[in-house]
Symmetry: C2
Subunit: 224 residues, 2 copies
């Protein structure tokens, strides 16, 4: 039996690079999907290209969605500043319905590829309080996916895999390191410069840095 195809959402950050490695470890032929939703950190998309190449994916596609125009997030609206201290509640870097949109696009592509598996690198513990990183959200999307597509109706529904969902950042880093992920190629920072160098101060940077410390592994992140 030939290896099954899977669609893997790939942002270019630490988490999705690890989810891609885990999908590969399970034997899937990986089709990486990056979504350009007008995020500030275009360096992310460059990182996604590097990570996809290093993982030798079957193909890497970047889909563009004009989400920036609607505003509502510090990640897409340049009028809002990225916070650099600790935040409580759902932070301003939350992008409305982001994971719903990204999973929808992955679902469309999966149907065309006749793939029954989608991987997304969300995790709830270090999720900064984003509602669409919770297990109940992933489960609800799986229910929707079975009803939404021709493949689902015909008895070939998609499974949504979120292999990092219960892991700590340190656990994610350990898993990826075991599988040879080169984290120096990934960009997590919400305000990386064009060369992909991190600020070291935003929420994403702080979570990432403490993950390496907790994992007892050197932090290869390029700070500016």
């Amino acid at each position: 039996m030939p290896a099954a195809p899977a669609v893997v959402l790939l942002s270019g950050g630490l988490d999705s690079a690890t989810a891609l490695a885990l999908a590969g470890e399970r034997g899937f032929v990986c089709h990486a999907l990056s979504v350009d939703y007008g995020q500030r950190h275009v360096a992310e998309l460059e990182a996604a290209r590097r990570v996809a190449r290093a993982a030798r994916v079957a193909q890497h596609r970047v889909m563009r969605v004009e989400l920036a125009g609607i505003g509502g997030s510090a990640l897409t609206d340049t009028a809002l500043a990225v916070p650099e201290g600790p935040t409580t509640g759902i932070p301003i870097t939350y992008v409305p319905a982001r994971n719903t949109i990204m999973l929808s696009l992955a679902l469309a592509w999966a149907e065309v590829l006749e793939a029954q598996d989608i991987f997304i690198g969300v995790n709830v513990l270090d999720s900064s309080g984003y509602p669409d990183c919770r297990p109940e959200f992933i489960a609800a999307f799986g229910t929707l996916a079975a009803l939404a597509t021709r493949a689902g109706v015909q008895g070939r529904p998609c499974t949504i895999h979120a292999p990092l969902i219960e892991l700590s950042k340190a656990g994610i880093i350990r898993a990826g390191t075991r599988l040879g992920v080169d984290y120096s190629q990934t960009v997590s920072c919400y305000q990386a410069d064009d060369a992909g160098r991190a600020c070291g101060r935003c929420d994403a940077c702080r979570l990432r840095r403490s993950g390496f410390i907790e994992a007892g592994l050197p932090d290869p992140t390029r700070y500016r």
Copy 2:
């Protein structure tokens, strides 16, 4: 109390023009959203602009999604022909995960607008067998929406309204006519020409034409 905002998905076809009129009748301030997913019938988007203007919406936004590149549908892939005879099962004009993607984008915009209501003009009877036009799909999206967004988590979930879902095409036409919808401005044809004139032969044209006949109303469609 000021009127509540709603996001209304507007394709420029007969159904969504009617859904917009029904949302207006219920007193919502309508924000119309058209999604340009690379469909063949660009005439649809022109029709959407005309319909939005005639309905005096608060605003009309066209979001572009690069879906065409993945193929898989006669509506986005020019290598596939639009069928002109009767079809059985789910036809080739089915666009993978289309309504999931469009509702996701509507959900994102609704959250930014602080709107708790989304209207979509799907209907199951004349739906050509599309899986994402069924009531169970709409219900599953509602469940997802409540889990997916900051507003949902904070107790202000979105309601997905599909007011046409159980209507026949004739019933839809009667409802819209009662509300003053000018159907000559709408385009339903899967292969309309650039001037918005219909072929009269595709599945969408045949459903529409028989709807006017059944409703006992003159068909204002411009055929070529």
